[in-house]
Symmetry: C2
Subunit: 144 residues, 2 copies
């Protein structure tokens, strides 16, 4: 459902939420290492997120990526929207031209509630909230 790039993006942003501050910026190298992602590829993705103001960065020594309060208040769906777009939430599981309850495919009744649930979960929660749940140990984002 989500592209590889998008998965990398989400986990990276949460990692930054958990581990960086404006005084402790983190390089793409560390993120890639800790979350087991291809470094150069991740750098590109973070670059795009920066361009779209979903994360922040500065160059040079002690530079790197970090999240401002504004960045932290974005929803995870903002990340998805930025990297993949929102098409995935509108398409039919079996490839019908449109996904709708008036002309449902054979699995629509299962798929639609799921799409709604996941959409709600991703749009109603900020990066901070996702990060907090990781901190608490409720959920996980790394691979160890």
């Amino acid at each position: 459902m989500l592209s590889n790039s998008c998965k990398y993006a989400i986990r990276s942003v949460i990692y930054l939420a958990l581990n960086s501050t404006v005084n402790k910026k983190i390089g793409s190298k560390e993120v890639a290492l800790k979350l087991n992602m291809p470094q150069a590829f991740l750098a590109k993705i973070l670059q795009e997120l920066t361009r779209k103001h979903l994360i922040s960065s500065t160059k040079g020594p002690k530079g790197g990526f970090f999240l401002t309060d504004e960045n932290l208040n974005n929803s995870v769906l903002d990340i998805v929207s930025c990297v993949d777009g929102l098409d995935a939430f509108n398409v039919c599981f079996l490839g019908l031209r449109t996904c709708s309850s008036s002309k449902p495919c054979s699995v629509h009744h299962i798929v639609e509630p799921f799409k709604n649930d996941i959409f709600t979960q991703l749009s109603n929660n900020t990066i901070t909230q996702f990060a907090n749940d990781i901190r608490k140990g409720t959920y996980f984002i790394s691979l160890d």
Copy 2:
């Protein structure tokens, strides 16, 4: 979640279930036309399904694709398994190395029930049963 090829495959097989018999074989041309799929590409997919005995075919005049009783009793998951494999049902939505309730990602509690539901729906129902629901008008597979 499913590849394009797999979506084509599922809808085609259901179309064959609804419209073909051993005495009324249907060419890839008709299926492609009726379900709005690229004909040559679909031919390749049907070819593979034939090789794996999920559908049947004969060459020559009055030849084409059709389903035997045995074919009709396959589950839709058999199609998915043949075309895409079953990986999609095991991977983590956010890209963690493993998807498990013991180390869940932030959306696991939503994704896992969905994966189970859809897996059950696809594995517990035969092609015939899917076709019957279409016949009844409960669900749809074409695009008109």
